[in-house]
């Protein structure tokens, strides 16, 4: 079939089953937008900033497990999208981002709105393409979707010069992809899996260490099964919250810098780490030389480069978590004796009673942890929770009763303030039946607040709960602990009128200062099905605890802070 480049883009998106594209037009991508106008294969949502478009596509991908698609113009459109690409890259989220580029003849001339998009995005994409020939376009589009979702997922950029979007060519959309240089291995080496099973059987204090790869691999049911069958306790990283499900007696909680006492002690004392799609990030391990000193390590990861990158591994297994865990379960069936780990479980139980994840509530002022637990009580399983970056994010990760994978969406790797709101839009578009709540801060929310307009226009009822401490709270906390309270540029006492701001953009605004108000307002907000800001005044100086100071050993936790 003969088509021009723009039709090819639209056709490929449709054939890939994508129902919604987030984007923002401009000169170099106008031909494609002209075709978008004429087609009805997918819906387009006009965000009010390209960064938000990519985050929205990202939120859509995280919530649904499908590839998210964003579209931007050349130059500033593309550079605005870079933070979105980097965010998705660090968390291995499958995205295809299409950017316009100046015509081929102008490339290299510093033409109007020309920027080297493939050059800039090389370190923050799984792969990228500059399309130089219309005949390559169908294959490149196919490859882009395939690369984004296969192996270790990630964002792929396709940069298309304007003349290529106008040129005609044969649209031969391949059914499958054959890339001789790209063959991710998913199955896991059976001999290694056998050895790993043996190690589990012989361990006395094994620990399942669950990372975001488990979510990406849709393996949470199997991981629960593995834990259940073996009765081995588990810890989750920030990216894996929800995999085990709150209330699961085998789940110790989140580990790492703001992990709970039992989780971090378990990691410090275990004799066998069963790492499933986790990557031993510095926010998890603390000081590496002190990390898990008594442990052998089974490391399952689809990306061989993650294995042995930071810690030496005894049982490396390259493969998809789902496939490998299934085989592990097979190997362990009727051979593993859950009783063997009983005294280990008891020790950890004691740690948990000694220092449970807790906080001191107050009658005078709202505590952020109370607000989060309250949201959990009121909407719990029904909600998808997104977040920005800061104290509110950590409190949400610590205190929300996450019940399933993909219920918790946050920027863990890059730590991008401004991610939460647009990601919530994407999640809501992908899962319209779910209540979507962005738990955010008074700093972060301003970094993509223009999305109020998008949400209002498209009637995407996302609830933003602003845990307002009038501070860049997380930075303020570090200044309190490590900089003698020199609060350099973190005081946000000067504030917008959040309620009025939401209303000015066509949403609803609430100010909340008491528990009673919060309950009423949240239920009302859910009822009214409109984008809203719930501005909650919280204790200004509340800290996130426990805390492992950066570079400290995981077992040296600051459990409280005394002034």
């Amino acid at each position: 079939m003969k088509m021009n480049g723009s039709q090819m883009v639209c056709e490929a998106i449709t054939r890939e089953g994508v129902k919604v594209v987030f984007g923002y037009p401009g000169g170099a991508i106008m031909n494609v937008y002209d075709e978008i106008y004429k087609q009805d294969g997918f819906k387009h949502i006009l965000n009010r900033h390209e960064q938000a478009s990519v985050h929205a596509a990202d939120g859509y991908a995280r919530a649904t497990g499908e590839v998210g698609v964003a579209m931007v113009t050349s130059g500033p459109g593309f550079t605005n999208a870079v933070t979105g690409l980097a965010t998705a890259y660090m968390d291995s989220i499958p995205l295809v981002v299409i950017s316009g580029q100046v015509p081929l003849s102008l490339i290299g001339t510093d033409g109007f709105q020309e920027i080297d998009a493939v050059g800039i995005s090389r370190p923050c994409t799984k792969h990228n393409y500059l399309v130089r020939d219309i005949n390559d376009l169908p294959r490149i589009l196919k490859e882009a979707f395939y690369l984004a979702r296969s192996g270790r997922p990630g964002p792929v950029l396709v940069d298309i010069p304007k003349d290529v979007t106008a040129e005609f060519g044969e649209f031969d959309y391949p059914d499958s992809v054959d890339m001789p240089t790209y063959k991710p291995s998913c199955k896991g080496n059976d001999r290694q899996i056998k050895k790993a099973a043996e190690a589990i059987i012989n361990a006395k204090k094994p620990l399942i260490y669950i990372g975001g790869g488990t979510v990406l691999s849709n393996a949470s049911e199997l991981v629960r099964e593995l834990a259940q069958m073996t009765q081995i306790p588990a810890v989750e990283t920030l990216m894996a919250r929800g995999v085990m499900g709150a209330g699961n007696p085998l789940l110790l909680g989140m580990l790492g810098m703001h992990g709970n006492y039992a989780s971090n002690m378990a990691m410090s004392e275990t004799d066998l780490i069963i790492s499933l799609g986790a990557r031993f990030d510095d926010r998890v391990t603390g000081k590496l030389s002190e990390f898990a000193r008594y442990a052998q390590i089974i490391h399952v990861d689809i990306d061989p480069a993650n294995i042995g990158k930071l810690v030496d591994v005894d049982y490396p297994i390259v493969g998809d978590i789902k496939i490998v865990v299934e085989k592990l379960i097979e190997q362990l069936q009727e051979r593993v004796n859950p009783k063997n780990y009983e005294s280990w479980r008891d020790v950890l139980k004691r740690y948990n009673t000694l220092h449970p994840q807790s906080f001191k509530d107050s009658d005078e002022v709202l505590k952020p942890q109370w607000v989060i637990e309250r949201i959990g009580k009121l909407v719990g399983k029904e909600a998808i929770i997104t977040s920005d970056v800061g104290q509110h994010q950590m409190w949400a990760a610590q205190h929300y009763p996450f019940d399933r994978a993909r219920q918790w969406i946050n920027s863990g790797g890059l730590g991008t303030m401004g991610f939460g709101f647009p990601a919530a839009l994407g999640a809501k578009v992908g899962c319209p039946e779910k209540v979507v709540i962005n738990i955010t801060g008074d700093g972060s929310i301003l970094m993509n607040m223009q999305e109020l307009v998008t949400a209002a226009e498209y009637e995407i009822p996302v609830i933003n709960v602003i845990l307002n401490n009038h501070y860049l709270g997380m930075v303020r906390q570090w200044q309190t602990f490590f900089y003698d309270k020199r609060y350099s540029e973190t005081d946000l006492s000067y504030q917008p009128n959040f309620k009025a701001l939401a209303e000015a953009c066509g949403g609803i605004g609430y100010d909340v200062t008491t528990k009673e108000e919060f309950d009423r307002v949240l239920l009302e907000a859910i009822e009214r099905k409109k984008v809203c800001f719930i501005n909650v005044a919280i204790d200004r100086l509340e800290n996130v605890l426990p805390m492992v100071p950066a570079g400290g050993a995981l077992y040296n936790m600051m459990l409280e802070h005394k002034d």
């Binding site: 050059g119 090389r122 370190p123 500059l130 690369l147 001789p180 240089t181 990306d303 480069a305 990158k309």
Partner: protein, 156 residues
């Protein structure tokens, strides 16, 4: 961990930006490049990149794994057992002792390759270590300019 020198051969698809991907990976992750050569492999869509690098064991392992992750990379070979050669060209004044220069080059698989009114150009091709020796030996002839070609290597 102790730093080791490694020669890494990378077979890549012939694509416009593939070399940029490889070098950007080294720059971005803070790996060393001591030398880098690249040339197409005859009768194929592939090129052969030879990189000499230094790093501890973990870093060398990361380099090969990260290279393997690049989509247009077909194969990465990292061996201790490589036959390595490097070429070098050196410019001298014609006033130097040309027969001695020719004899020196001869000992390193080379010779004088060009003679002009004022200068001569000599070359040598040998193992990288021996090229170092060769260059030391040329010092007494006051070399005007030295161009090294970078290491190429092939598995034994």
């Amino acid at each position: 961990m102790e730093n080791i020198r490694r020669v890494i051969s990378v077979i890549v698809m012939n694509e416009s930006s593939v070399l940029a991907r490889v070098t950007a990976l080294f720059a971005g992750r803070g790996y060393n490049i001591d030398s880098l050569t690249v040339a197409p492999i005859p009768q194929s869509n592939f090129s052969h990149i030879t990189i000499v690098t230094k790093g501890d064991k973990r870093i060398i392992e990361q380099i090969t794994k990260q290279l393997n992750k690049l989509v247009p990379v077909f194969k990465v070979m990292e061996h201790e057992e490589m036959i390595e050669k490097e070429m070098v060209m050196v410019k001298f004044s014609v006033k130097e002792r040309l027969s001695d220069i020719a004899a020196l080059c001869g000992a390193y698989n080379g010779g004088i390759v060009n003679v002009g009114p004022d200068i001569v150009i000599a070359m040598a091709a040998d193992e990288p270590k021996r090229i170092e020796h060769f260059l030391e030996a040329t010092q007494i002839f006051n070399p005007i300019e030295i161009v090294r070609g970078g290491v190429v290597a092939i598995e034994r």
